[in-house]
Symmetry: C2
Subunit: 466 residues, 2 copies
């Protein structure tokens, strides 16, 4: 049976390939003015369609491949993305435009926003409050330890650089990128465990901390470069903290108060699809506002998911409408893999070829991974799987790259604070922390105490479909 | 109760407004380097999120408003889009960037692709074959009559222009833009009627005819401009027809043959969400290929929907997975209104202020509407609602605008074939044909013979959700 399947796929791919080639040849052949002009109008849509086709196929084939070897599907999406994104090394550069398409980038971002919204839906604000202190402690430990370890690695490898460079490199290691952890927890059905809640809460908090550190470090370096020695004022720092914290608590307070009325209003609208549209509206609104105050949009999307409570929608359900989770699920199936496959595509394998960079990158990665294991020290509760929490905090993503990007633009004594080889090392650190997390986290979550997990799991309407 | 609702909404909007203003003020106030830099990285995502928020809200409020006055929801989406898109006339230009955002444009295009896919799913290839001849006749009548009427209007209003201008203006009136008709038929649950199938089939065929006419007309004018008098070769025309027809029949033949195996293969993949992902893949692939051969991508999406047969997915359903229609429905709820609200936004009300253009536009619109009523003459079957078919073929959309856009670039004796006032008249024609269709079509479809419609309706798994 397996053989037949493969044979059929090959068959299909051959036919599809021939068909595409013939169409393309036709189209570019003697299309005449009409075709060319129409094509010019449609071009942006067509290229995105082609990219979505490749990504949808890659996501499912990669997912299947990795599920078969008992590895998580998301790793398959990342790895197949890496393969596609590096085919140019073998001389095929048909996939290169994928990396620079703004629309695909935005679709990927919306995908990860939908993912965090979905994950947030599985918890409530009340449940998160319960783990608030634990999350805060985990975030603090998980910011401090990698910061100083990164600093140390920098001192070791770049002894001739100034202290500012060391500080900046330490800062790039602080913020957790929770997308991959959220996806893994969702895939293995562990979003409702205490561990998951602590990790997700801590990721929100360390995003705020990272924001503050970046502001301080950038301010100090800018001042040093200008020779004023003034640094960043404590007022500015307080302001940054204040607006991030205000956003979180403001969203929760106003959201819990206003949103039930908003959905009651929506219930009376004489038009289909209100529940889904309004839920997406709330998700996008909080993601947008989070972005506006300087946080990652996914933090806002997660908050939106937390705030929305299924009990508000009894009216909708009683007239036969599906739960929000069921409605969001197909959108997530479509859009979430775009984020992970694209993330894989952006991995440039040639960065691994430079041995000198590789040594620095290896130690930086070690600092990033070991540093976050300090998180487990913040957990005193013995029934909680503290190892899993340390592992779940490992991934670094966009925020680390954004930090490095800002460092690359900061100039001190005529040199960029983050030079190109340091930037490559940071990229490698991001790649490795992303790739190692899924298997480690799954191993830890599924090995330890299934019974105790179950006891803590909150019963919710199960998400179907995906 | 109603009053309370409005009060609550006002309340919500005030709070939301204040909240947004305060966030924006915060963000742009004293953000410091960190916020600015992070914002710069996130900017494209944030602006699209903001646009989606506005569109989701406008779609539901507009839909509700129009449903209350017994008008179709889609008209509400268009009209609220028009309001938003023309607020700059009142001095508020916060929505202007919406019109030029490429990503929003592509999301809108994907929205209408999903819509036509959904509509296609409700029919089968076999059912369409049954109405094939009727569709062909309807398409032919509906291309010939508007072409000559448009020519006549042009002779009347622009007597000093050359024959080529008249021909070109006639050509812009030929192709039906089936998105709005499909949406209306779907909203009133009439996609499975014989009338709907004839209209949808005819729209596919007249897209091919339009393509050919455009190629011929453009070729003739280019030749006249170059003074060679050669025109377009019959070989080129045959080629354009051949590849469009080959695409349609190739897709159906290869699709019906290969796709069952493809989905059988997918069934064995050990990963979630295969059914939806593979269905979208087929939809996007055919939309892409249609675009590549010069047809509208929605023609390919519709073909994809026709080809996919729910019986192939028994295996998936027997393990508890939802039908494709149920899986697609939430994605459609999210993405389809983007197309219609955005279409409304692009309406420039100032074009209606020029009286001279308005007269030409009015007659052109009349030619467009009356011309398509010739379609009803192509129907000899007395049980079919021929008036509805004529009405369903009225809308002109992108294709008309694309034609006009090409004409604006063609230069003959130092002047553009389509000058700016003619272009405005075509735009007005597109707007009016779009706006008049929903109420007329609904009136005709719901008035005439409910009993006979029901007799012809094919039983399918009902789509839920939206």
């Amino acid at each position: 049976m397996r053989f037949l399947t493969t044979k059929r796929l090959t068959w299909f791919l051959i036919i599809a390939g021939v068909y595409i080639l013939y169409s393309v040849a036709f189209a570019s052949g003697s299309g005449g003015a009409a075709t060319d002009a129409e094509k010019a109008m449609e071009e942006p849509v067509l290229s995105v369609l082609l990219q979505l086709i490749v990504i949808l196929l890659a996501a499912k084939l990669g997912g299947d491949l990795f599920e078969r070897i008992k590895a998580p599907a998301v790793l398959g999406e990342l790895v197949l993305g890496m393969v596609i994104g590096n085919l140019h090394l073998l001389g095929f550069d048909g996939f290169e435009p994928f990396k620079h398409n703004v629309t695909l980038e935005i679709l990927a971002e919306i995908g990860v926003i939908i993912l965090l919204f979905e994950v947030g839906l599985e918890s409530t604000v009340k449940e998160m409050m319960k783990v608030g202190l634990a999350s805060f402690m985990v975030a603090t430990f998980g910011v401090v330890a990698p910061f100083f370890l990164g600093w140390g690695v920098s001192v070791l490898f770049l002894p001739e650089e100034s202290i500012y460079v060391h500080i900046f490199i330490g800062a790039t290691l602080t913020a957790t990128s929770v997308g991959i952890t959220a996806r893994v927890l969702k895939d293995i059905g562990k979003v409702n465990t205490r561990e998951a809640k602590i990790i997700l809460g801590a990721a929100v908090i360390d995003d705020i901390m990272g924001l503050v550190i970046l502001a301080v470090v950038t301010g100090v370096i800018s001042a040093a470069a200008a020779g004023t020695g003034e640094g960043v004022s404590s007022g500015t720092v307080l302001w940054i903290i204040a607006k991030a914290v205000l956003f979180i608590f403001g969203a929760i307070a106003i959201g819990s108060f206003v949103l039930p009325a908003f959905f009651k209003f929506g219930f009376r609208l004489k038009v289909k699809g209100v529940l889904l549209s309004f839920s997406l509206l709330v998700c996008f609104l909080l993601a947008y506002l989070a972005g506006e105050v300087g946080l990652a949009p996914i933090v806002g999307a997660f908050a939106a998911g937390l705030i929305l409570e299924e009990v508000w929608f009894k009216d909708y359900h009683s007239r036969g409408e599906q739960s929000i989770q069921d409605l969001i699920s197909p959108i997530a199936t479509f859009m979430v893999p775009i984020f992970f496959v694209r993330m894989g595509m952006l991995v440039d394998l040639t960065t691994f070829a430079n041995l000198e960079i590789l040594g620095f990158a290896a130690l930086l990665t070690l600092a990033a991974i070991v540093g976050k294991q300090a998180c487990s020290l913040a957990i005193f509760d013995k029934t909680t799987n503290r190892i899993a929490i340390g592992l779940g905090m490992i991934p670094r993503g966009e925020v680390g790259l954004i930090f490095a990007g800002i460092g690359a633009k900061l100039v001190l004594e005529g040199e960029a604070v983050i030079n190109s080889s340091t930037y490559s090392a940071v990229v490698i650190m991001v790649i490795i922390t992303t790739l190692v997390t899924p298997p480690l986290l799954i191993f830890s979550m599924l090995r330890k105490g299934n019974a105790q997990d179950k006891a803590e799991q909150v019963k919710e309407i199960p998400a179907s479909g995906r």
